[in-house]
């Protein structure tokens, strides 16, 4: 029964990992740019949730959409203001561009909020319930289920709608997309907006049960990179499977070996998978 509890907790956190990693994989798939600031986007969203709750007294039903919208805007602004320009430069300029942005976001937050650990009240969504022997923390359950639904929603948006078809067309062949009348620029900006909105929702959800600090983005970024590599670059279903897997493995590691080792074990498994399947778990060879 304890094992089921551990797996359940891992699954719920893993769904949130899957959501923000989907954003990273979308941005990568669209223009082969790695967003090194992705973890810091999640961090910003956590602060948005914290401020909205403490200063504006908004509940999750408001601060989650608010964080989504604000991060969407941030993504679009970052695309037009930064990415679009560094993309024309050498690869090192692209790396430094988003890496520099990560530092700016991190240290600006540190400067404004200091390095204190903040958190939202534990019982924001109600008390812990016990169902069939499982401890259900409402904040984790809501975060996990919402993240799962949104990740699947993103996949459906990309594969089942005209807008998604256009986004994927630009991702697949920019010139061919122009040939059918698509302006690539707004589509790429939209990909950044959507990718960042994923971090917005994920950050606001994870803030429900996670500590909030300016450097939290570092470990989240590592998770996102591992998830994207495992899931296959550009694949949202891959990110979903890999995110859930990482969440569960982390949870089991914490339980069996100890919380301090979870990052190490995730990383070792990551290397092991890449050894046998360099294209990732679901990626095409």
């Amino acid at each position: 029964m304890i094992l089921a509890q551990v797996v359940l907790n891992g699954f719920l956190v893993g769904a949130v990992y899957a959501l923000f990693s989907s954003g990273l994989t979308l941005i990568w798939g669209m223009m082969n740019v790695v967003n090194f600031a992705h973890g810091d986007f999640v961090m910003i969203a956590m602060y948005v949730a914290f401020i909205a709750f403490t200063a504006l007294h908004l509940g999750p039903e408001f601060f989650v959409p608010l964080a989504a919208m604000m991060l969407f805007l941030l993504g679009v602004v970052v695309y037009y203001g930064l990415v679009r320009h560094v993309m024309r430069g050498p690869i090192l300029a692209q790396i430094l561009g988003t890496f520099g942005l990560a530092l700016v976001l991190r240290y600006a937050t540190l400067w404004i909020f200091s390095a204190n650990f903040l958190s939202l009240p534990e019982n924001l969504l109600g008390e812990v319930q016990t169902v069939a022997g499982l401890r259900l923390e409402p904040s984790r359950v809501v975060a996990g289920i919402a993240a799962l639904i949104l990740t699947i929603g993103l996949h459906l948006l990309l594969t089942r709608t005209a807008l998604g078809s256009r986004l994927l067309a630009v991702a697949e062949d920019r010139n061919a997309a122009m040939l059918v009348g698509i302006r690539p620029d707004p589509m790429q900006a939209l990909a950044w907006g959507l990718g960042a909105a994923c971090t917005g929702v994920a950050g606001a959800l994870i803030a429900l049960f996670f500590y909030i600090t300016p450097t939290v983005g570092e470990s989240l970024a590592l998770i996102a990179f591992v998830v994207v590599c495992l899931g296959g670059f550009g694949s949202v279903p891959g990110a979903l499977v890999a995110g859930l897997t990482i969440g569960i493995i982390e949870s089991l590691t914490s339980f069996w070996i100890g919380p301090a080792f979870k990052d190490v074990v995730v990383f070792i498994l990551f290397l092991a998978v890449l050894w046998f399947r360099p294209q990732g778990l679901l990626g095409k060879a």
Partner: protein, 245 residues
């Protein structure tokens, strides 16, 4: 001269230090089928790509209904009523046949027109209807060429540019492809077809242009060109002037 739908004058395209074409002129009038002939590397693709806006001309003019479109990006040019079935097809291989076709209707920005055109294209190319839910990447070469043409038709173009519609296809498929083009011609669609296969292209065309190492060298009615010894030479890619770099 003035009733030309498309007119290309002294087109030059450079790829950095390399010359794609150095001096090409041609004209397409409404309702005409025009062949653009030349051997391997003569510059046919470069001319079509410069017209549609995938590459920028470095000199010369591209006029569409008298207005300059030279240097405009492809997404703007296709909105004006031109479409290209490109070399190598350039399909969205991870998307379905139907999605590829629907993407072709993007310049119209009209879902109702899109649905009508989709039915029309399916009636014209029934094979695509059978395959509508399949990923474009699973199609055979002939079907891919059909899809490239179908996708171009989805924007209801007034001028359809075709880049070597026979390339890499089995003879029977090529024949079917050209029968389809004949139908489009009979419906009054204006076509500009780049080809290495001279007989095929001149059979369907009203007029033709021959380019050699990036220059226009010959033009005339299709039947005259078909008889010209120069055409055979250009077609075989031997003899003729070397273009100065």
């Amino acid at each position: 001269m003035t009733d030309a739908l498309l007119s290309v004058r002294n087109l030059e395209v450079r790829y950095g230090d390399l010359v794609g074409v150095s001096d090409v002129s041609l004209e397409v009038r409404k309702g005409e089928v025009v062949a653009l002939l030349g051997s391997n590397g003569a510059g046919k693709t470069t001319v079509l790509n410069a017209i549609i806006g995938l590459v920028r001309p470095t000199a010369g003019q591209v006029l569409w209904e008298g207005a300059s479109i030279a240097g405009q990006p492809a997404f703007a040019v296709v909105g004006r009523g031109l479409a290209l079935a490109p070399e190598g097809w350039r399909l969205f291989v991870n998307q379905t046949v139907e999605q590829n076709l629907r993407l072709g209707a993007t310049p119209l920005g009209n879902r109702k027109r899109e649905a009508e055109l989709l039915e029309k294209v399916f009636a014209f190319l029934p094979k695509l209807k059978e395959r509508r839910r399949q990923a474009a990447g699973t199609l055979s070469g002939g079907e891919r060429q059909m899809l490239a043409v179908g996708r171009a038709l989805m924007s209801a173009p007034r001028l359809l540019l075709l880049d070597e519609p026979s390339l890499g296809l089995a003879p029977a498929i090529v024949e079917m492809m050209y029968e389809k083009l004949q139908v489009l011609r009979d419906e009054g669609l204006t076509l500009l077809i780049a080809e290495q296969s001279v007989e095929l292209a001149l059979d369907i065309a009203d007029r033709g242009y021959v380019i050699q190492t990036g220059r226009s060298v010959l033009e005339g009615p299709a039947d005259e060109l078909a008889r010209s010894p120069e055409v055979q030479r250009a077609y075989l890619g031997i003899g003729g002037d070397e273009a100065p770099a």
